[in-house]
């Protein structure tokens, strides 16, 4: 059954969406079938969370409010997982 899901989370990682956090985020997003998009403002632009070109290219700084939305069968768990990843500081030690 197709779902829609949306949530927001603050990027606390010390530097923002740098290489390591961006790679983690896209890797996680790719595990879901749903179309997943992120944005730093609810008006967009919404970008493909599975594309490193787009995610790194957003050059999102620390402290930015990250909006996450998804559409598809596993949309809810996709948004949940991504928000959780950001909350866990991308599971990076530094």
């Amino acid at each position: 059954m197709s779902q829609n899901a949306q949530s927001t989370v603050v990027i606390e990682h010390e530097v923002g969406l740098h290489a390591r956090p961006s790679v983690k985020l896209t890797q996680l997003a790719k595990r879901f079938a749903a179309k997943i998009e992120i944005a730093t403002s609810p008006e967009g632009p919404w970008i493909d969370a599975k594309s490193i070109v787009k995610v790194m290219g957003s050059k999102t700084p620390r402290g930015a409010l990250l909006h996450v939305r998804a559409e598809g069968d596993d949309a809810e768990s996709a948004v949940e997982s991504i928000v959780a990843l950001v909350r866990r500081d991308f599971e990076l030690a530094t």
């Binding site: 530097v15 290489a19 790679v23 896209t26 599975k50 490193i52 700084p61 030690a93």
Partner: protein, 524 residues
């Protein structure tokens, strides 16, 4: 047999097969069909993926591994592969299509506001070259000992990562004072530059004699014999010079000349006995700032300077503050896209634009002063105000540390003399010592780029240079301030008599030249 003449940039001799390196003469791919180009592209991308994955495994630094993971992810991204496939389907060859896609991405990063993202442009350029190499079948070949490496140009990072045992390097472009030439001299790697395009067959036998500036490809028997004769003569001379390595250098008159060494990386010191030198005349602190994601912190800098200061066991150690810009860009720190970087915001000019970075370095330096005889030297000073501003920051650093109850020593503050305006009005500067940066001073006096092979004859010391040098030495003598010379000229045994005649009594040389310079002083 083919004899090729070039500019000797680091003395030495090597014999072996020619190994061509780098994308210098990549031939553009010929477009036959979209299917063939797409297949080639896929192979190229896969080869780059495999190489990156292998590199990642060997990487212990998480941040560096993260950058590789980023490059790897890019290769699999639809946002890249889709436009690539479309462009190939439209009739563009794989290499051209790939370069165009990457160049657009690189341009976007180059103009990023945040220094971190700006610095990623270099990683993207790296990736572009890696895939282009794969598309053209040039993999990053390991260089076997005893090779003659031929390249159009050679990046310093790759030079440092290469094992040069018994090998030599020939550059089609490049000047004798380029960054890689400095490294070659300090490592004792024979280097010949500015030879022009070489149409040599890969693996052809070659003899490199960078004393005489000669490369012989497919030598005949006589050439080989002559080469071996010269090689053994040079080896005998080097052995004789080496026997005297530990002794202080005195001219024939008995007058003492201080011979110090230049240090580019702390590891350089592992191969040298501190008792063989009179100190370190130049520590290029850039090593702390290269190949990394963010600027080094105070603790890290302090530890590095302290280690060098302790090594010298009380002998003077002159550490130069960050000399970035010109031919030494630091991604995310130096300005990108200056039309004339050698006349741009470099050295102290850049440091004064970023007083926070300079202050941090000065704090680390004055702390290291506790562990040895540290002197601080400022590069690219043109007017007295620049040095005065650094002195204010230096005094502040000492005061702050005292207030924080951290041990610090106020060090002598000197300047590089490399801008002609400073050289000609040296008495107007409040410097505790002077060190002549002959590479830059020469290129600025002669208005001749040090990297332009066609101008090699101009970029040499002439009457104007010697007059400036004599006056600097005279001023040093009168004002009782030390004048030393730390440029490449000091490492050139043939230049020693003229340097001593000008009044210089302190030289700082490349480590590989220590023995030959001391020998030249004894003969003078």
């Amino acid at each position: 047999m083919l004899r090729i003449v070039g500019i000797p940039a680091a003395p030495g001799m090597a014999a072996g097969p020619i190994v061509r390196v780098g994308g210098a003469h990549r031939k553009a791919r010929e477009y036959r069909s979209a299917a063939e180009e797409q297949a080639g592209m896929d192979v190229g991308l896969r080869a780059a993926q495999e190489a990156l994955a292998l590199l990642m495994e060997s990487m212990s630094d998480a941040e560096a591994a993260g950058i590789l993971a980023f490059q790897l992810a890019l290769l699999e991204d639809d946002e890249i592969t889709r436009p690539l496939a479309a462009s190939i389907a439209d009739g563009t060859a794989a290499d051209t299509a790939w370069s165009a896609v990457m160049d657009r991405l690189i341009a976007d990063y180059e103009t990023a506001e945040d220094a971190y993202f700006r610095a990623r442009a270099a990683d993207l350029a790296d990736l572009r070259e890696r895939v282009l190499d794969a598309l053209h079948g040039d993999s990053a070949v390991a260089i076997a000992p005893g090779s003659i490496v031929v390249a159009e140009d050679f990046p310093p990072s790759r030079f440092l990562a290469t094992d040069w045992r018994d090998s030599g390097l020939v550059l089609e472009r490049g000047g004798a004072t380029s960054h890689v030439a400095i490294l070659a001299r300090s490592r004792g790697v024979p280097l010949l530059v500015g030879v022009g395009r070489i149409e040599a067959t890969e693996a052809a036998d070659a003899l490199l004699d960078s004393h005489d500036g000669l490369l012989v490809i497919q030598p005949d028997h006589a050439a080989r014999e002559a080469f071996e004769l010269r090689r053994s003569r040079h080896a005998d001379e080097a052995r004789a010079d080496h026997g005297q390595l530990g002794a202080a250098a005195r001219m024939a008159s008995g007058e003492r000349v201080a011979v110090m060494i230049n240090v580019a990386r702390p590891e350089d010191l592992e191969r040298i006995d501190p008792d063989h030198v009179d100190g370190i005349g130049l520590v290029r602190s850039e090593f702390l700032f290269h190949d990394r994601r963010e600027l080094p912190g105070e603790e890290e800098q302090y530890r590095a300077y302290s280690r060098i200061a302790k090594w010298a066991r009380g002998r003077p150690v002159t550490i130069r503050t960050l000399d970035a810009g010109g031919d030494k860009p630091i991604p995310g720190f130096t300005r990108a896209g200056e039309t004339n970087p050698f006349l741009g915001v470099r050295g102290v000019r850049l440091s004064l634009e970023r007083p926070d970075v300079l202050k941090l370095q000065l704090r680390a330096l004055v702390r290291a002063g506790v562990d040895g005889n540290v002197k601080v030297m400022v590069p690219m000073v043109a007017v007295p105000g620049e040095l005065a501003r650094v002195r204010v920051l230096l005094d502040e650093a000492v005061r702050e540390l005292k207030a924080e109850r951290i041990a610090a020593v106020s060090p002598p503050l000197g300047m590089m003399v490399e801008v002609p305006a400073a050289a000609l009005a040296v008495e107007t500067f409040d410097a505790d010592f002077y060190s002549i940066g002959s590479n830059d001073l020469l290129q600025y006096l002669m208005a001749a780029s040090r990297d332009e092979p066609a101008l090699a004859a101009l970029a040499r010391p002439g009457p104007a240079f010697w007059r400036v040098l004599r006056e600097l030495c005279a001023h040093g003598h009168e004002s009782r301030r030390e004048v030393s010379l730390c440029g490449d000229l000091a490492s050139d045994a043939n230049a020693i008599p003229d340097l001593l005649r000008s009044g210089l009594r302190t030289l700082s040389v490349a480590q590989a030249s220590l023995a030959s310079v001391k020998a030249a002083i004894r003969r003078a």
